[in-house]
Amino acid sequence: MDTLVDIRRLKKHFPILGGVLRRPVGAVKAVDGVSLAIKRGQWLGLVGESGCGKTTLAKTLIRLWKPTSGHIYFDVPDVVKAEIEMLESQDKNGSKLNSLLKENDLGTFSSSRVRSFHRRAQLVHQDPFTSLNPRMKIKNIVAEPLKIHHVLSGHAVETAVEELLDKVGLSSGQLERYPHQFSGGQRQRIAIARALATKPEFIAFDEPTSALDVSVQAQILNLLKDLKREFGLTYLYITHELLIAESVCDYIAVMYVGKVVEMGKPEEIFHTPRHPYSQSLIAATPVPDPTRRVGRIVLPGEVPSPANPPPGCHFNPRCSRASDECREFEPELKLISNDHYVACFYPL
């Protein structure tokens, strides 16, 4: 399997404006140096608590936002990436490097190139109640990407829209209706149909079921599975519900305060987590099985703010294993076993 999406040392900081002049006085380090590779055909689950930067990562990756620094490669051959790394390590700001970056790094693309990139990669938003324009009919909502990218025209658009709605399980008799006439699950289906319209290779889902009920959530998850198989899609799936991540994803990344702290296969992450945070996160997740009630680890304290994270390992104030080293230095994400990465000085 080759790598489709490759992010390297990606950072996205939001300035905090202060004072009368609204000058930046600090930064919210929403994403602070994330490296992540998504293989073609993979269903990568990104889990973490509220405010750890999951949405920011997805939106920056899809280039809705411009990254502060770092590289985003979409379908770039390994040799090119290696060449860029090499040129960068030589620390010469050569024109060769610049032209290579301009050609391959999504982070530096011009806005028109980004627009055409959106044909190949799509984002499905968290809240289906706000992500559809309330004043547009369903048929126009789903047809919009086709029109934007001039994929089809005239009558062909209408047939394509009907086909798409059929794919996501909506009847074509509803083309003339407005979003507010649909339930949450149906709206999320519409949003998925819209994302599928241009036949993208990659779709990022930002907690697509968190606003939905359990039974509807199951329908959407099954739909995503079917679509992935049918179109050979690659998914980035953001969620804070570990049970979902464990049951559908084939690779997991755990985020904490702007950083990925652990990456690995779901079997390993959920059964033998190596990072103390992953371990407590998994232990804190309620399971619908009253016989498994005992022995939960209750993590003390609260998630620190990304505007002002603790020095060293961001997890150190809540960690039972933290030492002086953890309070001073930031642990790097290191490979510790086959395909399993951990950023911790004292992995479990």
Partner: protein, 385 residues
């Protein structure tokens, strides 16, 4: 176990511009003394409305059409028919004997008062006599000690204060303090009540495991994190030692690790105080974690009520089964429930679940199944049993 609340034939409807919403339909439910009863169900199944009906706070245009809600007041050792009480009486029960915690902690707190002030307010409102008693005790101890000159000068004032607070402690609404409290400067003479309330507040905040409660009491809501706010709201709800604590999705807006702390807190509250908790959630995992018994609702009706283990290990109602199957679990194929949620304006006749039920029979289509006990402590409303 004795019942604390007994709901019978409760029907709540919303008369809207577009038709009548059958929010709750003939609901029978008991909440026992000292138990945590969970209500689970999907959006719009009527969980919140059940809770609000107990407090008689159904929002306009909703109405409690019929039914009875009996509350056993432990203090008075009597049964109260909540739906027939006067509004005044109801107000003294709300926030005191029965209190509620909402999903959004922010919306339950007033942004312009400090946390401490808001919790003190509950004490001042509902526990004036107790506060008066405490204040009197404190003054009396001042009277007892000290032979210094300063103390003997102040003594007559203290005596008068002691009498004043004694009146508050005894009478239901004595004249003197009432007059004082309406005159701006003299109002200060009652400061000890506020002080006592403040002390109780801090100990309450400590009780819900807020670190550094003295400082937090002086904070405004926006200065606290979501989890902290929810703790403060819980402290406020517990202020009067309620007999029933209603929690409407208290952890839904919180993070997993904070949620775990909160669930731990609820478990402790129940164990320490022996209060009953009505715990509303749509997260089956959370329900499994904290509840003793679980009630499953669908489209305004109860499907099944049983102990947690019963419900999760031996579900009987097809809806409960389907709901449990729909929870993603590793290594298990996800099952979906066919069809869509029942239309609130136009619910299907008979069993409301029948259009989606895999084992629906002809009777299910037009006759409503009654909730009946099919095993010990296990009630199901389904014709299969």
């Amino acid at each position: 176990m004795e019942d604390l609340v007994r709901i019978r034939d409760l029907t709540v409807r919303f008369h809207t511009y577009e038709g009548v919403v059958y929010a709750i339909d003939d609901l029978d439910l008991d909440i026992r003394q000292g138990e945590t009863l969970g209500i689970v169900g999907e959006t719009g199944s009527g969980k919140t409305m059940t809770a609000l009906a107990i407090l008689r706070l159904i929002p306009y245009p909703g109405r409690i059409e019929s039914g009875s809600i009996v509350f056993f007041d432990k203090g008075l050792r009597s049964e109260l028919e909540l739906l027939k009480l006067s509004e005044d009486k109801m107000r003294s029960i709300r926030g005191c004997k029965i209190s509620m915690v909402f999903q959004e902690p922010g919306s339950a707190l007033n942004p312009v008062y400090t946390i401490g002030d808001q919790i003190s307010e509950v004490y001042l409102l509902h526990q004036r006599q107790e506060l008066g008693r405490q204040a009197k005790r404190r003054i009396d101890s001042l009277l007892g000690n000290g032979g210094t000159l300063a103390a003997s000068i102040k003594r007559p004032f203290w005596r008068w204060q002691s009498r004043l607070y004694n009146k508050i402690a005894e009478g239901s609404n004595p004249l003197e303090p009432r007059i004082l409290s309406h005159i701006p400067l003299f109002r200060r003479l009652l400061w000890r009540l506020k002080d006592e309330a403040g002390l109780l507040t801090v100990s309450m905040l400590k009780d819900v495991e807020i670190p550094d409660p003295d400082r937090v009491a002086g904070r405004y809501p926006h200065e606290l994190s979501g989890g902290m706010k929810q703790r403060a709201v819980i402290a406020m709800a517990l202020a009067c030692s309620p007999e029933l604590l209603i929690a409407d999705e208290p952890t839904t807006s919180l993070d997993v690790t904070i949620q775990a702390q909160m669930l731990e807190l609820f478990r402790r509250i129940k164990a320490d105080r022996g209060a009953s908790v009505l715990f509303i959630t749509h997260n089956l995992g959370v329900a499994a974690e904290v509840c003793d018994r679980v009630a499953v609702m669908y489209a305004g009706r109860l499907c099944e009520v049983a102990g947690v283990e019963e419900i999760f290990l031996h579900p009987m109602h097809p809806y409960t089964k389907a709901l449990l199957e729909a929870v993603p679990m590793p290594g298990k194929e996800l099952q979906t429930i066919p069809g869509a949620l029942a239309d609130a304006f136009n619910p299907p006749p008979g069993c409301r679940f029948h259009p989606r039920c895999p084992s629906a029979m002809p009777t299910c289509q037009h006759e409503r199944p009654k909730l009946k006990e099919v095993a010990k402590d296990h009630m199901v409303a389904c014709y299969l049993y």
